[in-house]
């Protein structure tokens, strides 16, 4: 399975922004000792300024904001916008998928709805995992047989047939262990008739055109949404109550879950850390499955495992973690080969905080001023095993 090529196609950069260099080509290099290269650069640069900015011609992504008892829920429903957010920096999570929104392609593949197109439907992560698990269970069945025969051999000598079987099993196992390529079984591509589909599938397939209707949405964490809104301004947040567009300040309050936030409001502290790592180019995803706040990927989960796990600790003396909590977390993080980074966030006093968040402050400068009042402190937490560091 040519996994790498598939990934390259899916990754287009750390931010959902179209660069000028992608559309108009990069500016020429400048050589300090060659004045001609300066002139050429200046000429190209001036020409570039006359052209429209590519990102200015692209509509903002529409994000739906629904107010629930558990806080605001942000979703993107358009299939192409979901893909755009995922391919440019891995934002959000498909609500029916493991991470990237693959429900549409998965279901199309399962129901063989793309039989008319010449290209086979792309394999999703979930499909690949399924194939891997099937292969693994075939391997385990062979291994069990090998162990049965070997145990029997310790009790009584094996018969000729059994000896031969053991040899065969051993060679099959060797082949399994040596190959690291996944063999994908070809599935029959006969289209399923509408009448043969399960009831729940019929609900999602158009009877006339036999096309799947997308019902999956991409859900954004509040920190992701606020980064896209405040940091990049590539999204329009629409309230589901009255279909009105929310201002940055309204989005901020929706994320905080309150109109009267305090310096240690969880969302703000989390956002400071999220923004910090995003601005350094890391792909930041939720660390909930490892019991921490964030995990950091070099480019994204489709390329390599996350290298660092970040635990956010507000440094106001009231949110300190006990050693047992940290050690427990460290064991989990250690077993998945990541580094545990404790991120202590220092925060402003209530007076400074309230002064900045004053209603008179303009939205444009408010949040940058506010975020500059915080400071992140990073401490790596690692087990020390004296046995292993002697030399």
């Amino acid at each position: 399975m040519a996994k790498r090529r598939y990934n390259k196609k899916k990754y287009e950069g750390p931010l959902p922004v179209t660069l000028s260099s992608t559309v108009y080509g990069p500016l020429p290099e400048v050589y300090p000792h060659n004045p001609l290269s300066w002139a050429y650069f200046a000429y190209k640069y001036l020409v570039l300024l006359t052209k429209p900015v590519p990102q200015g011609c692209i509509d903002n992504i529409v994000v739906n904001c629904e107010h629930t008892d558990a806080g605001a829920v942000f979703t993107v429903n358009d299939l192409s916008e979901m893909t755009r957010l995922w391919d440019h920096g891995c934002y959000g999570k498909g609500i029916f998928s493991r991470s990237d929104p693959t429900w549409y392609s998965r279901t199309t593949r399962r129901l063989h709805l793309n039989h008319s197109s010449s290209e086979p439907a792309e394999l999703s992560n979930e499909d690949i995992t399924r194939f891997r698990r099937e292969e693994r269970s075939r391997f385990k069945a062979e291994r069990t047989r090998e162990q049965q025969l070997k145990t029997k051999r310790r009790h009584t000598p094996l018969s000729t047939e059994e000896k031969q079987e053991l040899q065969e099993v051993e060679s099959v196992l060797l082949a399994f262990r040596r190959s690291n390529r996944l063999k994908v079984q070809k599935e029959q591509s006969q289209p399923i008739l509408w009448g043969d589909m399960r009831d729940e599938d019929q609900l999602n397939v158009d009877k006339e055109t036999m096309e799947l209707v997308n019902i999956e949405a991409l859900q954004l964490q509040p920190v992701e949404l606020f980064f896209l809104k405040y940091g990049l301004d590539v999204v329009d947040v629409i309230s589901s109550q009255d279909a009105s567009a929310l201002s940055t300040r309204e989005v901020f309050f929706a994320c905080c879950g309150t109109r009267t936030p305090i310096p240690s409001t969880s969302f703000i502290v989390q956002y400071v850390v999220y923004h910090y790592y995003r601005s350094l180019g890391w792909s930041v995803r939720s660390g909930i499955k490892f019991g921490c706040d964030f995990i950091l990927y070099k480019r994204g989960p489709q390329f390599s495992h996350a290298e660092h796990a970040v635990l956010v600790i507000p440094a106001d003396g009231q949110h300190e973690k006990s050693w047992v909590e940290l050690q427990t977390l460290s064991r989990v993080i250690g077993s998945v080969r990541k580094t545990l980074v404790l991120n202590y966030v220092e925060m402003p006093s209530v007076a400074d905080f309230t002064a900045v968040l004053h209603p008179d402050q303009s939205d444009e400068t408010l949040f940058t001023t506010l975020l500059r009042l915080y400071r992140v402190n990073e401490v790596v937490y690692r087990r020390w095993v004296p046995n292993k560091t002697r030399d």
Partner: protein
């Protein structure tokens, strides 16, 4: 000293034997090694015999008595009025790192603290006697000679009883590291000189190249600026201040009670007790996990060497390694909680902007 020569040779043979049988792993190699479940009893004589043999070897080894080499056993006198043990005749290789040398009757002697005393007694290399008034008069020069026969030997239980409960915990850490071969000394503070360099934060003119220079404006403006690379946008987004390693040296954290207890060196052939090199590890023994200002206080107590790296020149792989092991100082915590666990805490900075210059340390 009551160990006879015969005893000594017998002992030697046992020790040699022990060395030979120590590696009883070779037996397991003939058992299938595919996984733990293979050691589940399968009822075959082949397996049960092998396991039985291996067990017997283990028990015979455990039943050996721990004895020290006669020539290396030393005698000491515990001085209750000083809380220390005096060793007049030094033998063996134990005093490379522990004890303090003092002049004694025109010769040199060694004073051990209680933890060091207990370690050597438990190891079987020190026989310790309780110093009495008569011995005190000898020390004061009132009597010219003394004999060990006039003193009462102390047993292990008594030496344990000399330690407070915190000292017992300190002892656990000390003995564990000593048994692994580390060189351990009580923490000594060396004065650190720091020449704080100006922080090379991303210079404002570089950020404003494509837009406004107002500090409070993010000014990314992706809809009106022609960006050539993603890093141009990311630089503008870099607004969150971060703590740079060594920055804590500019502050005092006197309200913190955390302190370093031990300086630890990896095993090495040459070691000067008086003028030790920079420790490889510095250990704080604690029951509670420190808060941020405690961690900084501990960092400030460290004796560290110069560190002056320009992170921009580093290769990606080196940068990765730096991030994982910290870009600044490291402290080891020995946390006492139903046993001892060791944790490394290293200061790091993912934005890699610090360029503080630290000069060497002074005794």
């Amino acid at each position: 000293m009551d160990i006879e020569d015969d005893d000594f040779t017998f002992n030697n043979i046992l020790l040699d034997q022990a060395d030979e049988v120590l590696d009883y792993r070779f037996l397991t190699q003939s058992l299938p090694k595919t996984g733990e479940k293979d050691f589940e009893p399968d009822g075959s004589a082949f397996q049960s015999n092998k396991i039985e043999d291996s067990k017997e070897l283990m028990y015979s080894m455990l039943s050996q008595e721990l004895k020290a080499h006669e020539r290396q056993v030393v005698e000491g006198i515990f001085l209750p009025w000083e809380g220390q043990t005096l060793i007049v005749t030094i033998r063996g290789n134990y005093f490379r790192d522990i004890g303090r040398n003092i002049p004694f009757k025109n010769k040199s002697a060694v004073l051990l603290n209680k933890i060091e005393t207990l370690y050597l007694v438990e190891r079987g290399t020190l026989i310790v006697y309780l110093g009495n008034d008569k011995f005190r008069s000898y020390l004061d020069g009132l009597i010219n000679s003394f004999s060990f026969r006039d003193l009462d030997p102390l047993n292990l239980q008594y030496v344990y009883g000399l330690l407070t409960s915190f000292e017992i915990e300190k002892y656990q850490v000390f003995a564990y590291l000593k048994r692994l071969g580390y060189l351990v000394q009580d923490y000594r503070h060396f004065v650190v000189q720091i020449l704080p360099d100006e922080h090379h934060w991303l210079s404002p003119w570089r950020i404003s190249w494509f837009g406004s220079s107002n500090r409070d404006l993010l000014g990314v403006n992706i809809k009106s600026i022609h960006y050539q690379t993603y890093s141009q946008i990311l630089k503008k987004l870099s607004i969150i201040p971060s703590y740079a390693p060594y920055e804590s040296l500019k502050e005092n954290f006197n309200d913190s009670e955390f302190q370093i207890h031990y300086n630890v060196w990896k095993p090495r052939p040459a070691f000067s007790k008086k003028l030790p090199p920079t420790p490889d590890f510095q250990i704080c023994i604690t029951k509670a996990f420190p808060q941020l200002h405690d961690i900084r206080h501990l960092f400030n107590q460290l004796n560290h060497t110069a560190l002056n790296i320009d992170f921009e020149d580093l290769e990606m792989r080196t940068k990765d390694h730096k991030l994982k092991h910290g870009t600044g100082r490291t402290i080891v915590l020995a946390i006492i909680n139903n046993g001892v666990s060791f944790v490394n805490l290293s200061e790091t900075q993912f934005s890699l902007t610090h360029k503080n210059k630290i000069t060497g340390y002074v005794h």
